[in-house]
């Protein structure tokens, strides 16, 4: 990024970002400095990639014209804490409208690949067309600037995410990696392929402690393009910490922002796993395909119980003081740390544990591990499997696939393994398609074709307006449970004003844990931008830019055929209201209808002019 202004909100074209376009068919590679069109381009991430996607008319995700855009945010690779994000964008093989048009999608993860990519001197890579043979891309810092090369990847074919990363690590020192697993290679039958991002911890220990850009099947799109991995090789270019950024970082760790994510031993809340205990208070932990039963079963996966049997190591991405990873290891007889089993974040733990009827930590760990190594999105996988189990429970006389039902670990593991190998398109293509094939769509827990996160839809009608997956692109998931808001005004305000701001993190290069309640429109971010780049961007300009980017995402959904009626929740929520959930009912049809009316009244007039003219 080169900046010739200190006021990019007024003079965006005075900021140039470095883009490399790689034609995978011809092998031609073209690098250029591109002037920014607006503040969204300057901030980066999906704010920029969605403008590129909006310029294309794509009717099928697996077509040569659908690009895979890999980019970073302005603060990726900076000294601001959590500045490690990489974004993968394209039209999704998984998320589609009822008209079967693919939705624009992004997915993001941490690890150290994003920072390394930024340090090579590139801000964005666009992969066009597809290669006829398997390749990987190497992005290298050279004296003449960033250099991108394509290399044959036959030796990587068939390897898991972790195996690919470790094989490349042997070849490339001082590099970090993004890789798909077998699932992404089997893109025809797996639409939920994830991209694994290497961590320092993984490369040093040899343990498969990766982070993932999982949502929306960007790993499958990579597989379709025959692009198996990316290597970003550069020296580390961390600027010395300025007093301003140091103050922000201390505030992130010690202040309200991310303090709650810190390990319990450091006075924090112990990461996202804590959601189990909180949601169980309301009997709102998803159980057996999102049907909480009002019993104590979810407590078996509470941290306090798992800790008795396993060692839980609190670990972090490179230089991040938040330390949000809960890595579960076997406990040796003397209590010391044994073999690494899996990461226990709330989402995968619930969706590959309690929500499929498994309450045993070792079994859940094994499934998470399998999912991660084949390279699938744990949310989409878990929810599609839970749909299948629910179907089989309802139809014992004519079950699907191997007939697995809730709690049958061995059979579920077989399903996940076979899905990862591309042998079960019924699962690999997600819950929307599976439920449409059975004709029983009401209990398929997806919204707009993308599986919901591990928050009961009864607690979050905001899911309907999330533009890139349940909880990470619409921050309303705690509005009822945490904030106790059950009135219409709070929900309209939440969806249309405050909670959509969560997507700002997916532009600027920071983790949401930087300050999840306040978003990026804060003095902390303003101070970082000033100190790192000399840019004067006001809180108001940031907020306006994030809002435009969100609304552009919404406009793009509508352009891809989504109808207003699709902005809703799975029908089971009101067809069979769950009496066990101890919270006010805000998802009855009248509430949803009124919410839809009020939300669109606000959003709709703002959508004009956000997309290029046809």
């Amino acid at each position: 990024m080169k900046s010739f202004t200190s006021d990019p909100a007024s003079e965006p074209s005075s900021v140039l970002y470095s883009r490399c376009t790689v034609d995978l068919r011809s092998g031609k590679i073209h690098r250029e400095d591109v002037p920014c069109r607006n503040l969204e381009d300057v901030l980066g991430g999906f704010g920029r990639s969605f403008q590129i996607l909006a310029e294309r008319n794509i009717n099928h995700a697996y077509c040569e014209e659908n690009p895979l855009i890999v980019n970073t945010g302005l603060l990726t690779g900076s000294s601001a804490m959590t500045g490690l994000r990489t974004y993968f964008s394209g039209y999704s093989p998984l998320k589609e409208s009822k008209k079967s048009l693919p939705a624009a999608m992004w997915s993001t993860g941490s690890g150290n690949f994003g920072a390394k990519l930024k340090w090579t001197g590139l801000d964005e890579l666009i992969f066009e067309n597809r290669s006829t043979t398997p390749v990987y891309a190497v992005i290298r810092e050279t004296a003449e600037g960033p250099l991108v090369e394509l290399k044959p990847a036959d030796h990587l074919l068939g390897l898991s995410t972790h195996e690919k990363i470790m094989a490349l690590h042997k070849e490339y020192g001082s590099a970090h990696f993004a890789a798909i697993g077998q699932a992404g290679e089997q893109w025809e039958n797996v639409y939920m392929g994830a991209v694994a991002l290497s961590t320092d911890n993984q490369l040093k220990s040899g343990e498969d402690k990766m982070r993932f850009a999982g949502r929306g099947g960007m790993g499958s799109l990579m597989g379709y393009k025959n692009l198996l991995a990316l290597v970003a090789q550069s020296s580390d270019k961390i600027k010395p910490l300025t007093p301003e950024v140091k103050k922000v970082n201390i505030n992130v760790v010690k202040g309200g922002g991310a303090g709650r994510l810190l390990p319990i031993s450091r006075g924090g809340g112990g990461g996202t796993w804590a959601a189990y205990d909180v949601l169980q208070t309301f009997h709102a932990v998803p159980v057996n395909n999102f049907r909480p039963q009002g019993n104590n079963e979810p407590e078996k996966l509470f941290r306090e119980h798992v800790e008795k049997q396993f060692v839980i190591k609190s670990e972090a991405c490179y230089r991040c003081g938040i330390t949000c990873h809960n890595n579960v290891h076997e406990k040796s007889e003397d209590g010391s740390v044994g073999r690494f089993l899996a990461k226990f974040d709330y989402e995968p733990l619930n969706l590959l544990g309690t929500n499929i009827g498994l309450h045993d930590a070792a079994q859940a760990a094994s499934l998470i591990h399998t999912c991660d190594n084949y390279g699938m999105d744990s949310i989409s996988l878990g929810v599609t499997v839970s749909y299948l189990l629910a179907y089989n429970e309802r139809h014992p006389e004519r079950p699907l696939l191997n007939g697995a039902v809730f709690g049958e670990y061995a059979k579920i593991k077989e399903l996940i393994t076979q899905a990862g190998l591309g042998n079960l398109p019924e699962i690999g293509r997600g819950s929307k398609r599976l439920s449409e094939s059975t004709g029983e769509t009401s209990y398929a827990y997806h919204v707009k074709g993308l599986e919901i996160a591990a928050y009961q839809p009864e607690t979050n009608p905001g899911y309907a307006w999330a533009i890139a997956g349940g909880h990470m692109s619409m921050g309303t998931y705690g509005l009822l449970t945490r904030e106790g808001k059950s009135d219409m005004e709070s929900w309209v305000q939440g969806i249309t004003r405050d909670k959509l701001q969560i997507v700002g993190f997916d532009m600027i290069g920071l983790c949401k844990f930087f300050d999840i309640t306040k978003g990026i429109c804060t003095q902390m971010v303003v101070d970082c931008l000033k100190s790192e780049f000399g840019l004067d961007i006001t809180i108001e300009n940031l907020a306006a830019s994030v809002r435009r980017a969100f609304l552009r995402g919404l406009a793009l959904e509508l352009r891809q055929g989504y109808e207003k009626a699709e902005y809703t929740l799975p029908a089971e929520v009101w067809e069979r209201p769950n009496p066990n959930i101890k919270l006010p009912n805000i998802t009855h049809p009248e509430f949803i209808a009124e919410l839809q009316k009020r939300v669109w009244e606000i959003f709709e007039p703002e959508l004009d002019g956000l997309l290029p003219q046809e």
Partner: protein
């Protein structure tokens, strides 16, 4: 007056899961939180008799207060 206190998640560590405790009348939730030395930045939700409430709410004899940690998505 007697108030039942229920603690959730990490708040139980070195404290208790639930207990009936005696407090002077007119006490508010914040004073209970302070007395239990619960770090306020970790406090996400207060329920009084299973209904969402605030830290300034005043308690009466026989109330049940549940204190829940903040949740941050996953």
């Amino acid at each position: 007056m007697n108030v039942t206190i229920k603690l959730v998640g990490i708040f139980k560590i070195d404290r208790f899961k639930d207990a009936v405790r005696e407090y002077p009348s007119g006490i508010c939730v914040r004073e209970v939180v302070d007395e239990l030395r619960i770090p306020t930045h970790l406090l996400g939700t207060v329920l009084i008799n299973e209904i969402h409430a605030g830290v300034e709410d005043v308690l009466v004899d026989g109330d049940t207060v549940c204190l829940l940690p903040f949740i941050d998505g996953g």
